[in-house]
Amino acid sequence: MQSEENTQSKRVEKPLLSLKGITKAFPGTLANDDVGFDIGHGEIHALLGENGAGKSTLVKIIYGVLKADAGEVLWDGEAMTVAGPAAARQRGIGMVFQHFSLFEAMTVQENIGLAVTDEKDRKVLRQRIIDVSTGYGLPLDPDRHVHTMSVGERQRIEIVRCLLANPKLLILDEPTSVLTPQEVARLFETLNKLSSEGCAILYISHKLHEVQELCEHATILRGGRVVGECNPKVETPRSMAELMIGDKLTPPERNKPDLTDAPTRLEVSNLSLASDNPFGVDLDKVSFAVKGGEILGVAGIAGSGQVELMAALAGETIIADFDDCVRIDGQGVASHGPGKRRRLGAVFVPEERNGHGAVPGMSLADNAFLTAFRRMNLVKNGLIQSDPTEAFATDIIQSFDVRTTGHAAEAGSLSGGNLQKFIVGREVRQEPGVMAINQPTWGVDAGAAAAIHQQLIDLSARGAAVLVISQDLDEIFAVCDHICVMAEGHLSDVRPIGDVTVEEIGILMGGLHDQTVTPEIQQAEA
């Protein structure tokens, strides 16, 4: 609020976009309640709020995907009704969705072409994709099919798709979750350039230090209402997080564990694996070990082999002849499927929540049963024990603060952060000896992320070996004891977290994608 005067100067008399009294109700919830704020020409404006605060609903209203029940949207001072996203794009509004609106069976070029309405632009589309994507440091091969691409690469398509339309207002929903620090810096250069050219940016993110670095004005939503505005430059990430959750934020706490006598619980040695996907990444002699009580972080940008590594760890990919290249508590399991590994006390949380980590159309109780039935003894004589199963699910919901209507709620009805808390809770409650988790807090808000981080730390303190695969370096630095970097299927040496800087790791992660640093990295590795 102290920033009103600051931003007033930049906002000439007429804002580009002005929201007044936007209200939108869904059955059972009021997603937006009398929301109003202005965005000036060329302003970079942050929209902050926890999951379920109504941010996504609000931007969908601006982009014309949803219709508001009440309130008005002024565009350059004139009342605007947006018939749909096509009309919004016509006006110069571009949007990068959090849950990508991509078509898996189609190529990059086709996906981008679908959003291009002008026949003339389509003819030169291929070259423009290459120009824009390389120009903004988001390299894309126009002919690749989306289903072969990682989450991070898919996000590039979304961003490039918007940039091609030369928007006046660009809405970005969680755009940096899967980028390296270098890529984020480059994206911010892009956004600052766009802003200086007069394009306003509405930026939704949970990474508050990024908001602080990039944005000059922030609107904070909680429970569908505007609860504050601030200038991020003069706030701290912590003060903004506390405004968002309306409560004190407890950052994860951990004591440095003494690992000298700890047993090795998860060991991977010389794991080489050719991907069965023509666009996948082959793993090349990956070796590491995680001791009980240790948290090892695997950094790396999307599509460096993390998905393949996770599949090999979880038993979704089986290596028939070399049982010993994956060992759980000393026992070789590489030729066995997930069932045997889970019986040995290992649990796994994949990257994709909906459809991989949980079945969206099934209840939370059923989802809890699916991975926990062995260790929690939820089957008797071949029958599901419904009372213990429901009690188990209810216990997870309560202990892990999952905001939902109860164990009968469909998994797909939960917001990303809440579903992730449920999935992590389901695995942690089984008191595993080994846990491997891929992207634990992707698209999860600050409060939920802190809770998940605390769970991982507590689990390792109880003697479990935890492997965290993440593209979010802050996360790795916050929870892990050791760190290694995955790039193009290779894994770097494991180093103690105190001995490395974010910059060093960032260069290792992005090295292969940044032509200027590549030779040095290769020399360093050789």
Binding site: G64, V65, L66, K67, G84, P85, A86, A87, A88, R89, F97, F100, S101, L102, F103, E104, A105, M106, E110, G113, L114, A115, E119, R122, H145, H147, P278
Partner: protein, 309 residues
């Protein structure tokens, strides 16, 4: 030369047996590519057949008959679209109902036309070209609909692969939520695709009652609509394979009929099973390539779309 002259009538019958399948299957392919599973092909073919025959025999014009057949099929598909796309009824159940409705409705209309005969559609006759031995009658001596069936397969293939409209159609079938989020009218596009499928099924029916057997008989499609449905899957939603499949099906059907005619010592029931068995075998072989199926099968097939407001 005389030795292989016998091949001409065989190939001619294969063409007539295959053409209705080509029409119905290419229409259903477009419908399914948009994410709609219309199991009412058999019903739409029958209503198309009876409408085409009724109009052709009362006006004496084959062309009007063809148009009537296509229009009747499209109308049936529009009913299906209204039920499944607007009212969100289950597509599988509605499609089955459409077939049952089509069987009964066509029999009702057709009862007045049983026993009528009409002139079959004229064959192309290019002086000189059509008289070339073997090649002449095969390439230049067909009726208009045979050429149209080939043209429509190529047109659909080109449309899906190279045009923006085709890309939008595939996008709607691939992920209706994403297509909606980008701003495409999912329901409208699906209506168009469904009605195109209906019109093509109607044409397939019209071919049966105007050319194949120029008369009306109750239930004269005898399962061809179901075969067309299978062909779409068999072809993994690719027009090129679809026409291959249709002709393989038609070819085996005719060959086994001829074989039965020659009095081979094989039970006729076994012979009649051949086209189906062959299709199943080929289908199984093709399904082994998961990547291809993943790329071509519309991911939203038969899923209802409910836009958020």
């Amino acid at each position: 030369m005389n030795g292989i002259e016998w091949i001409v009538p065989v190939v001619l019958t294969v063409i007539t047996a295959s053409t209705p399948l080509v029409f119905a299957a290419i229409g259903e392919l477009v419908t399914e590519k948009s994410g709609v599973l219309n199991l009412g092909v058999e019903g739409m073919m029958l209503v198309g057949a009876v409408s085409a025959f009724a109009v052709a025999s009362s006006t004496g014009s084959g062309s009007l008959g063809i148009i009537a057949g296509a229009a009747a099929g499209a109308l049936m598909a529009a009913i299906f679209g209204w039920l499944t796309l607007t009212l969100l009824a289950n597509q599988v159940a509605t499609g089955l109902a459409l077939t049952i409705f089509g069987v009964g409705f066509s029999a009702l209309i057709g009862s007045a036309f049983v026993g009528f005969a009409i002139e079959p559609l004229p064959k192309l006759n290019l002086p000189g070209l059509s008289e070339i031995p073997i090649v002449g009658p095969l390439l230049f001596g067909q009726d208009f609909l045979v050429y149209l069936s080939f043209a429509s397969v190529f047109a659909v293939g080109w449309f899906l692969k190279n045009s923006h409209g085709g890309m939008v159609l595939r996008a709607v079938g691939e992920s209706h939520d994403s297509a909606h989020a980008i701003g495409y009218n999912v329901i409208g596009i699906r209506y168009l695709a469904t009605m195109f499928g209906g019109a093509m099924s109607g044409l397939g029916g019209a071919y049966l009652s105007l050319v194949y057997t120029p008369m009306w008989a109750e239930n004269m499609t005898s399962g061809r609509g179901w075969i067309a449905l299978a062909l779409v899957v068999f072809a993994t939603w690719r027009p090129g394979r679809l026409i291959l499949g249709a002709y393989m099906f038609g070819g085996i059907t005719i060959l086994q009929l001829n074989a039965q005619g020659l009095g081979l010592d094989v039970p006729s029931q076994l012979m009649s099973m051949l086209p189906y068995l062959a299709t199943i075998v080929v289908l199984v072989l093709i399904s082994r390539d998961q990547t291809k199926i993943r790329l071509n099968a519309p991911a939203c097939l038969s899923q209802p779309f409910r836009p958020a407001h």
